[in-house]
Structures are given as C-alpha cells and as structure tokens.
C-alpha cells in the first residue's frame, strides 16, 4: 500500500501531460527527459535489482506500478522495447558485463532500443530471415535489411536476429548493435496514424563486437522465443493499461451513452479488462511458483489485442457522428489496430495455442 501511494503521489506531482508524440524529434526528447525523472525516483524499472536502478520489487509490485502509471495517464514509455523485451532476455541469457553496460543506460533512456526482427521476406515466418552476421576476427559484420523496426526512427541501438549459418533455426544469432555507426541507414516509415513509429534498417557492414552477442552464436532462435513470449504476455501489455482505458470508456458512457446495446458492449469491455487483470495475477502466481511464460502467453496476446480494439471501437460508437473528429479515441483506435499484427500475428498465435496447448498436429 505504501508503494502504491508513493507511486501515485509521485505521478500526480511529476507526470507531464500533453507531450508531443514520442515519434517526433521534440517528443522523443521530452519522453526521454521524463524517463530520467522516473529513473531518479527509482521507478523506471521497479522489478530490477537495485544495482541497475531498480528496487528488487516483486512482479505484483510491478503490476501495481503499472496500474498507477496508466491510471495517472502518464506518458508512453519511450524505453519500452528495452525495458520490457530486451531486459528480460538479458536477465535470462546476458553476461554480467552486458547487464552492467546496458541496463542503467536503458533505464535512464540514455539509450533507446529498437527491435530488428522482421524482414521484407520474413514476417510471420520469422525463421526465414536472410540478413546475415558474418564472422570477422573480433566480432560480426551485419548485412541485409530489417523492417517494421519499432522505435528505430529515433533509437540509439537495436536488438534482433541475424543469420550466421544456413541452418533454418540453428543458424540464427541474437545480437545487439549500435544504430549510430557507418553501415547503418535508417529509413522511417509513416504508419497508419501518420507517425514514424517504425522504420526500415539497411545494414551494409555494420559491426557487432563479440561481447554484444546474447548467448552463443546459433542459439538466437531459442533465446528470441523467450523475448517473444514477453512481448506477447506479461510485460509489454500490463492489465493496468486496459483497466485505465476501460475506466475512461465507462466515463464516456456516463456522459454520452444511451443505447442499451452499447451499454452491454461497455460492460463486456470492462469484464474483459478485469479478466485480463485476474488472468495476469494468476500468471504471476505461476511464475512465482517457479513456472515459465510459455505458450500460454499466445492466448494472452490474442486476448488483449482484441480487447484493445473493442475498447476503442465501443468508444467511437458511443461518440456517434462526432467519432470522426480526430481525438484521443481515434488515436488509440488506430494504435489498437496494429495489436493483432505485431508481436506475432494472432493467426500465428492461434496456431501456437492449437499445437502446443491443445496438442493438435502440426
């Protein structure tokens, strides 16, 4: 309770509102400054060890932080790729020096991280990637093209998979590399909402020192699947986010709602947001008991991505004719439309659920 109050009071006193989008030059800077403040209050990554700027807090405390963060309507986390996806991977597979080198800078948003997975010919079929890592004396040279790289337009570093040999799954190596170096060209891509939330990365001999390989060369696929379950499941989309949106939806209904059919949809959105919250508590209990985030995270990914769209569609339907006016709800709606696509399309997730959870043949 004291932790919840501390977070609530800090956010009430300090969280800025109305920052420009983090996918603009000014907005990116403003969001990084906010991350600095969070870091100084040791709130940037509460579940991390104190040595890296965290508080050694439990996953339940992290969920509390997230609930308060979203309830306070605080800025989108510019560092989320690093904080929520790369960091768990480093805790599981990184060397002590990788942790020391990257985590504090990540938590202060000194380094903002981009993802480098998809390629023009490797989307859902991620193991088909062609961009290569070629061995040189003290590291690797990267060649090829990555695309849909989230945050790459304004990021400093990137992490992802590269082909180091011909074997489909066992020929992949997981690397971290600097985006500000010769041999890297970043071309921002305007998304459906007009912002450059992702980019193409062209690589022509960019260098990766040996110490920036995660795990052993050739182990990348196995490690990346761990990252993917974080992206799908617990860490990227905390329930606090959907509870906060559902509360805004209920407020909207109170002011503008009249149609009983819409009332039922509002109720369903709230029920699903609560279901995601309770399911997450259950997942945390399982992890605390020594379990792992496995194929169950695929079910979570389908669930929250569809919930996010339902929340925003319902809000727009409540708004009636004025729903066309660009608003926070239309922004959120356009953002939500990406959910069933990124982090592994929902069709791929359904295959995973059917094959790994239900035991149907491949």
């Amino acid at each position: 309770v004291t932790f919840r109050l501390e977070v609530r009071e800090f956010l009430a006193a300090h969280a800025p509102h109305g920052l420009p989008s983090l996918d603009t030059p000014d907005g990116n800077l403003a969001h990084r400054e906010w991350e600095q403040k969070l870091y100084d209050a040791r709130l940037a990554a509460v579940s991390w060890p104190a040595a890296f700027g965290g508080r050694d807090a439990s996953l339940l405390d992290w969920l509390t932080f997230e609930e308060e963060y979203w309830a306070a309507d605080a800025p989108v986390r510019v560092g989320q790729n690093g904080l929520f996806l790369l960091a768990p991977t480093l805790f599981a597979h990184g060397t002590p020096s990788q942790l020391e080198r990257h985590l504090p800078r990540m938590a202060r948003a000194d380094d903002v991280w981009a993802q480098a997975w998809s390629e023009p010919e490797a989307g859902s079929d991620l193991a088909a990637i062609r961009a290569t890592a070629t061995r040189v004396s003290d590291g690797w040279l990267l060649h090829g093209q990555k695309t849909w790289s989230s945050r790459a337009s304004f990021a400093d570093k990137a992490f992802g998979l590269f082909r180091s040999s011909g074997e489909r799954h066992r020929g992949l190596t997981y690397v971290m590399f600097d985006l500000h170096q010769p041999g890297v060209t970043v071309r921002p891509i305007a998304q459906l909402n007009g912002e450059t939330g992702f980019a193409e990365i062209f690589l022509d001999g960019a260098f990766v020192p040996d110490e920036e390989v995660i795990g052993e060369p050739g182990e990348g696929w196995k490690i990346a699947m761990g990252t993917a379950s974080h992206e799908r499941g617990l860490s990227l989309r905390s329930p606090g986010r959907f509870i906060a949106t559902a509360r805004r939806l209920i407020d909207l209904w109170r002011v503008h709602g009249s149609d009983p059919l819409l009332r039922d949809r509002v109720a369903d959105c709230w029920i699903k947001a609560r279901a995601y919250q309770e399911h997450t508590f259950q997942t945390v209990a399982r992890l605390n008991a020594g379990g792992h985030l496995g194929a169950e995270s695929s079910a979570g990914k389908v669930f929250w991505s569809e919930l996010d769209i339902a929340l925003h569609e319902t809000a727009l339907d409540i708004l009636g004719p004025s729903a066309e006016i660009a608003s926070r709800w239309t922004d959120g709606y356009l953002f939500s439309l990406a959910g069933p696509i990124y982090a592994g399309t929902n069709e791929v997730q359904r295959n995973v659920i059917a094959e790994r959870l239900l035991g149907l043949p491949r």
């Binding site: 209920i250 369903d268 279901a275 309770e278 399911h279 669930f303 295959n351 959870l357 239900l358 043949p361």
Partner: protein, 376 residues
C-alpha cells in the same frame, strides 16, 4: 486452487468419469431418475451436497471456491439434477436466514393473515412433495414429515425459516433429498420439481414445461409466501446472496461444460480424417478451437475471483464471461464435429443443450451486464 481443492477435484473427476454419466443423463431425461439419484448419493459421500451448509446443520461449511471446484466438475461431466438449487442456492438461503432472526417468520405470518389463512396451514398445504417421496422419484404426494415439522416450529414460536433450516439443511447435506426453487430475475420455472422438493412454501402450478435440455424438467411454480414475504424483509440480503451463489455455481458449471466440449472436440478432430489427413491439421479448425481455449482461459480467473470476493459485480462478470466462453465452446465444438455432432447419439449433444439452458439461468447475461454497469 490449493492442494486440497486439487484433490477434491480429482476425486470428483474419477467418480464421475467412471459413472457413465451420459447414460444417466439420458435416463434422467426420459424420466427414470434412479441411476441419477444413486449418483447424487455418491456425490454426497464425497461431500458435494454438504459444501455450502454450515457445520451446525451437519454440513461442511466449505468456501465458495470449493463450491466452484465442484460445479466445474458437475458441468464437465454433464451431471443431471437440480445441482445449483440443491447445493448452492437453498443451502445459502436457509443458512443465512436461519441466523438472521424472525423477520421472515413475521412477514410470512402477516402475509398469510392477509390471505385470511393461518400461516401454519398454509405452509403445510404449500409445501411441495416430501423429500422422502421425491428421492424415490414419486412426486405425487404432499409432505407429511415436513409439514409436521413446520407446524411444530410455528407452534413453538420459533423463527419459521430457522425451523426450515433445521428441517432441510441436514437432509440436503446428507444427500437424502434434492430440492429446487426459483425466483425472479431467474426464470419462473423451477428445474426438476418432479423429483426434487420445493421448500419454503413453493408450489408447482403447472408441471413439465419442456426445456431445450431434455435432462432438465421445468415446472412453472409459485414461489409462495417465500417471495412475497422476503421482498419486504431484512432477509432480502440473504435472498440476494443465495441468488448470487446460484449465479456463481451456474458460471462454474458453464465453465466445466465448455471445458468438456473443448476436450471432446480436440479428441474428435484428431481422429476424423478428411482429404487424407486428420482435420485437426487444418488451420480453420485449429483457430476455432484456439479461440475456445482463449475464452475459457480468461473466463476461469473471473469465476475464481468472484468465488473469493463474492461481490455482486464480480459474480455478474463471471456469469457473463462463462456464458460467453461456454457458448463459443458449444458453437465451435459443434462446427468442428460436423453432422455427427448434430445427432442425439453423439454425447456432445448433452453439453450443447445444457449450455444453452444454463446461459439464461440465474440471471441472463443481459441482466448481469446491467447490474454490473450499475455498480461501476
């Protein structure tokens, strides 16, 4: 679920798995209750019927979570009979009102005085088939035992409902009798009143309305003095709690039904070969069943959370989510079975219609959504 609850679930599952419930359910549907009543005696040996009954009435006084565990298994195996009413609703109502004083008794007396009849007579006359008679499956005669006991209680000046609790709760706990009742916003029909007793002055006014689920026999009832009295008494809270326990049990039963439908469907699509391969290899089939798994996975935590909090809004959320998940399991389950699933000979049919029967029971999804929105 704690280890004891896991063990309880496992015991229930192994009993029910070995009991050929589809045959029992089909017999029940055709009006042969013996095998079903024998099964209920075995369930009471495992403590199922005593779960919601306090120790002072020979019950177990278990938690609502224990109750949810039991109802998931009852749904999982399509056990016939007025489970929600006998195991969740009436035990909750009677044990809560037993300890809450005489308001119900006073109100009942006042209401019947207004009818120009003696409260004692009325209770005796309105009491439905006796528990003993009903256990034998003969629903014709009225209840000398119960009537006598109630007259005695009234003559002593003891609280009417307290007397009823003493009379009924130990019987319900022991599995000697099944009982049933219904009141708005639940349907005006009581399930299985032909084989179960109607306590609290309930009365069958028209027998045997067909249900979409042949294993549920519906009777139009007059809830009797119970409803008229309790509406105006402090015991309305007990009525709400009992109704909610029914909704929670119903949600758990729906979850269990959904789980059974999913399991049977997963098994079937691996056996059924078309186009030279098992149809479980086709993505169209996989995705249907994956969606069922997702719906059940996310409804279940709501049901267990509601059992823990017992807040009306949590119970409503659980009932809505479980109804939706079970409905999806029924729809997709039937679809992946194809025509064989649309036959009475296929056991799937037992669950398909039970889901449809339970969705509107103990508060329709719309009613629960509406109540939920009022609390938000």
């Amino acid at each position: 679920m704690n280890p004891e609850q896991e063990q309880f679930r496992a015991s229930l599952h192994s009993l029910l798995d070995a009991s050929d419930i589809p045959a029992i359910a089909r017999a029940w549907a055709s009006g042969s209750y013996d095998s079903g009543l024998a099964l209920w005696r075995k369930l009471s040996d495992l403590g199922v019927t005593a779960l919601a009954i306090p120790a002072e009435f020979d019950g177990i006084g278990a938690t609502a979570t224990d109750l949810v565990v039991a109802f998931e298994e009852l749904g999982h195996h399509a056990v016939p009979g007025p489970a929600i009413e006998s195991v969740a609703v009436l035990p909750t109502l009677l044990s809560l009102t037993a300890s809450s004083g005489t308001a119900f008794a006073d109100a009942t007396a006042a209401a019947s005085a207004a009818d120009g009849r003696d409260a004692t007579e009325l209770t005796a006359a309105d009491t439905a088939p006796s528990p003993d008679a009903s256990l034998r499956g003969t629903a014709a005669d009225t209840a000398p035992n119960t009537g006598t006991a109630l007259r005695g209680a009234a003559a002593d000046g003891a609280p009417r409902l307290g007397g009823m609790a003493l009379e009924w709760l130990p019987r319900l706990a022991s599995g000697d009798t099944l009982a049933t009742l219904a009141w708005p916003p639940h349907v005006p029909f009581a399930v299985d009143a032909g084989v179960a007793a109607l306590p609290l002055g309930g009365r069958v006014v028209r027998e045997s309305v067909a249900s979409v689920d042949p294993a549920r026999q519906l009777s139009s009832i007059d809830g009797g003095q119970f409803l008229r009295a309790i509406d105006t008494s402090d015991e309305a809270d007990a009525r709400v709690a009992a109704f909610d326990m029914g909704a929670l049990a119903c949600a758990a039963q729906l979850l269990g039904c959904g789980q059974a439908l999913l399991e049977q469907s997963v098994q079937y699509v691996q056996q059924r070969v078309q186009f030279g391969q098992s149809i479980g290899r086709f993505q169209a089939v996989k995705h249907h069943l994956a969606d069922v798994r997702i719906a059940l996975d996310f409804a279940r935590p709501l049901v267990y959370n509601a059992a823990n909090s017992l807040l009306p809004q949590d119970i409503s959320a659980a009932k809505v989510a479980a109804s939706e998940a079970a409905n999806l399991a029924a729809r997709h389950g039937l679809q992946v079975h194809g025509a064989i699933g649309y036959t009475l000979e296929c056991d799937l049919s037992l669950w398909l219609v039970k889901v449809r029967a339970l969705i509107p029971a103990w508060g329709t999804p719309s009613w629960h959504r509406s109540r939920l929105m009022e609390t938000l």
